[in-house]
Amino acid sequence: MMLQWLIIGTAVLLAGIYLYRQMRKTLKAPFCSDCAGCDTKIKNRLNR
């Protein structure tokens, strides 16, 4: 049971960190996240 909780704890922690980082990334540049208009393979140079 301990092992199960360890795996669950790790999964939840990783999911939380991923979502947090994804949101932070989105707040910085929404175009480079996962929207339909962007391809991460392409470097987007923003119009400064």
Partner: protein, 680 residues
Amino acid sequence: MRVGLVGNPNSGKTTLFNELTGAHQKVGNWPGVTVEKKEGMRRYRDRDLLFCDLPGTYSLSAFSLEETLVRDYLILDPPDVIVQVVDGSNLERNLYLTVQLIELGVPLVIALNMYDELQARGYQLDAKLLSELIGAPVISTVASKGYGTEPLLAAVAQTAQAGSSRSGEIRVNYGLELEKEISALELWLQGHVQNLAVPLRWLAIRLLEGDRDALLKVAPDLVGNDERQKLLPRSQDRLKKLYPEGLETLIADRRYGFIAGALQETLKRSIPDRREYSEKIDRFLTHRLLGMPLFLLFLWLLFQATFRFGAAPMGWIETAVAWLGTSLGGILPAGPLNDLIVNGIIGGVGGVVVFLPNILILFLGISLLEDSGYMARAAFLMDKLMHAIGLHGKSFIPLIMGFGCGVPAIMATRTLESRRDRLLTILIIPLISCSARLPVYILFAGTFFPHRAGNVIFLLYIFGVLMAIGAGKLFSISLLRAKGAPFVMELPPYRMPTLRTSVRHMWDRASQYLRKMGTVILAASVIVWFLGAFPRSNGEAPRAADSFIGQFGQAISPALDPLGFNWQLDVSLLTGLVAKEVVVSTMGVLYGVGEDNSADAHGGGALPTALRGSGISPLSALAFMLFVLLYSPCLAAITAIWRETGSWKWTLFSVGYQTALAWGIAYAVVKIGSMAGLGP
């Protein structure tokens, strides 16, 4: 080596860019798809070519944002070679930009794209002679079929090696009087600026055209120069007296004269005149009375196909997901880990992945409409409606992009010249239903209106458009008063969509959807499961309503109770702010459907069965779909609004008015429906 791709909107730059670099940028058969620079690499004969896809522009006059962006790129950060993509089916207008590029003296290569269309219309172009006349290699290409890219790359490499093309030697003759003033200005500039990055003649013409910004960019020291301030108005006044129609018109006329001359010598018609097939089709599709009903019919057919053809593959995926849940549930020992994997991950991700076929069918349809050129006609039809809300047809392009995703649609508003138009368009884009909301509609319409699901989804999309028009009208007479600017809507010729492009569109869409499943949806499902599995008492999982998420759902439910939603729906709406697909995955987790492969008498999978059994009425289901259609956009779209408006005030206003509108409409539907005896 850097290569810039320039050209008129809808000349096929992005298609060529994708073909050359292997990228998958969005392509559409309407102008304004590329709104910013995009870069991609290609290795050719041991050289790395960095291609830069620039926004479409008709000229380098710096009147619009795209023109300014392209012009600044060419004069301030010039690439080694410029490839101008010329639409073979519209040579005269496209070559106008060529003339300006010639004047700029850049190392130029012309990609004569859509050459097959030129031939299909019965023309033959002497590319070799045209190359000599304009001083730059002209290479025939058909980017959508990958034709001509090798010779184009060879010409690029050769031009780069030579360091220039002969284009700088070619001169447009502007006539005696104008040439006199150009020479005088050139002479004066020669004595006052050193190491100018652009030809003196180009700057002199720009100055005569009244482009003060060009001077600011290439020779800022001369901006306040007293002598220039006297000299230039004197020249302009003299020319204005000689040519009352205006200098800009005169210069444009001379350039078109040069083009007409070049085409006269190089373009020959090989078959007798015949009425363009595009015009024939347009007589029906853009007909004053028939146009709009036909547009609605196409959309209706698209949504019917999305639902009907998607039903069978959706059922297969549903069965596979249920099988996976049951199998894993049987293999893993009972306990919290089993619960996380089966109900959390498979229930959440599996609940959304089943809609992949529907998404693919919808996007195949949209891709066919775009690539055939019909979407530009739809914009033309909508132009009148756009005018009614104080916007012009150009705003329709970002709005149509909103059917895919709100984020690039909001970014595409950069093509609009006035801030007021941009703001108004940004405010109404989120009301257009994005593809991420489709899983919610398919789930609810399929569950509660199984025999009319296609119609319900079609009406939801139309309702979104009507709400956008209504909100736009309201804002244009209250917060953002102004008149819409006139705009000539471009109607590209109809093209037969290629299998290659359509499959690529679908593949892009599928990989994007699956990537989202494996990342955001997966992570959100784990978190939702965790919040639903705690706090535990005596090591046992709590009742759903007593869990963290259950308590939270009940805390916010008073605000949404009048709409007939239960707390599971309330929570889903909130988690859906991360991404709208999460609305469905959250329900998958909260209803614990991962290992449940039961189906009731109505058919369908576990989640529809659970929803039907949860006491939600069809009326509340309809209200829920409307709420999802209209309420706050997702986090990425909110951020895009903030970045593009540069204002928290407008961002909060957008989120606030939409949520209030969603609540109001959903409440009205529930109340009116109840009074009409349609349900509780």
